[in-house]
Amino acid sequence: MIGLSPPRRAAVQRMAVPFLVLLSATLVILGKADQLMFESLRVSVTDTASPALDVLSRPLAAFGHLADRTREFLSVYQDNRRLVAENERLLNWQQAALKLASENAQLRELLKLTPEPAITFITARVIANSGGAYVRSLMVHAGRENGVARGQAAVTGEGLVGRVSEVGSRAARIILVTDLNSRVPVVVQGSQQRALLTGDNSERPCLNYLDAGAEIKIGDRIVTSGQGGVFPPGLPVGVVASLDGEAPRVEPYVELSQVEYLRIVDYGLADGLPKPIPIVSRSGRRAEPLAGAQLGRR
């Protein structure tokens, strides 16, 4: 605008806000209509910003650690008593586990069972979250260069966190099980009832598509069913926490706001996640939907 006369400059300035508002609204509509349109831009921005976000997130993490240490120090006596009792209980479990492991090995040998493929994982640090009430996702400082691929499962020691939805060369986005667009096929342990764990942006996702006569009670463990081929069966997800409302709600095992490091696990199933479907293929024809597309809206 340097070369413009003052009246013209004023006119341009007057028009700038309406134009930019219109442009923003257009971006919102286009982004909703075709979610792939901005994926490459989103990935490049994420990749570019990831080193800075990594550095900037460390002081906050250090502050969090300090708060944790203080809390731990204050509760050291109760923790010790609890751990002694827990240790006694776990030693009994260890004996049971050793016995079962040896029995399991013998039975596998008898059945000539094909061993499951070895899983590989990488540990990644969380460097950003979605910061708002409408999306539940995390950004991790690991990407294609580290072997992260779309569709891989993100877990912690406690259970499932989500799955990789976008991958850049240095950073990746994890869509959490609580996100509005998350759908995870699960099974209720014990009764073996199958259901779909549906996120709705609340802290507790819903259990949908249960059988009409399904008997669900608070405290039932929910694990992945392996249907759809995205997650392996048996990954712990959470426990049934409430039965009010239209569908039972599940409290995830993982406190999703507090995840600092998570494991991105390659179960060799990542190819099971369908590729996103562009609204219009490059040639101008409508793309054919792929099987299981409801699992990968984003």
Binding site: S24, A25, F38, T46, A61, G64, N201
Partner: protein, 176 residues
């Protein structure tokens, strides 16, 4: 404690290049803070709208140094980093600026409670707008409680942000 920033309605020219970049730098910083994982239970969903605080402050005190084009870029960047539909934050920030700018003279040189009331009204409007937009985009009635808590947290945090922004402004730009 009285939070009051000594600025005059007439915008004095700022020669120092660092000071000229201050509104953009602090708004960008607010964007980064908005997406920082705080490791506090439930925080991610209720993160205060720090960028809105910065935009409100600078629209009142130095709108000339935070042009709409920068707001657009900052908003889109925040959307891309946060994983929300691009354009949503840009739209909110631009509309917030458009709503505050005609009234900025009423807020300059006023006691903090008055400025805070203005921000409260802006936040309520912005949060209602965001909620409606996401309901339309997602095609479902999004739980309104999260929006209410986020608005309350944003309004409660504003005095701290305003104090810090005011101090930074005075340090780099002087009283004007």
């Amino acid at each position: 404690m009285v939070f009051k920033v000594d600025t005059t309605p007439a915008l004095q020219r700022v020669e120092n290049p660092v000071a000229r970049l201050l509104p953009i730098a602090t708004t960008l910083f607010a964007t980064v803070i908005s997406i920082q994982p705080a490791h506090i239970p439930g925080y991610a969903a209720l993160t205060p709208a720090f960028t809105l605080m910065a935009v409100y402050h600078w629209t009142i005190y130095r709108p000339d140094l935070l042009p709409p084009s920068v707001l657009f870029l900052v908003g889109v960047t925040q959307d891309l980093l946060a994983g929300v539909p691009p354009g949503v934050t840009a739209l909110v920030l631009l509309l917030a600026r458009a709503a505050v700018l005609p009234h900025r003279r009423h807020f300059v040189d006023r006691l903090f409670p008055f400025v805070w009331t203005g921000f409260t009204m802006l936040t309520i409007g912005a949060m209602l707008f965001l909620w409606t937009l996401h309901c339309l985009l997602d095609g479902v009635l999004v739980d309104f409680r999260g929006t209410v808590f986020r608005a309350v947290l944003t309004i409660s945090m504003f005095p701290i942000a305003s104090f810090l922004l005011g101090r930074t402004q005075r340090t780099f730009m002087g009283a004007g």
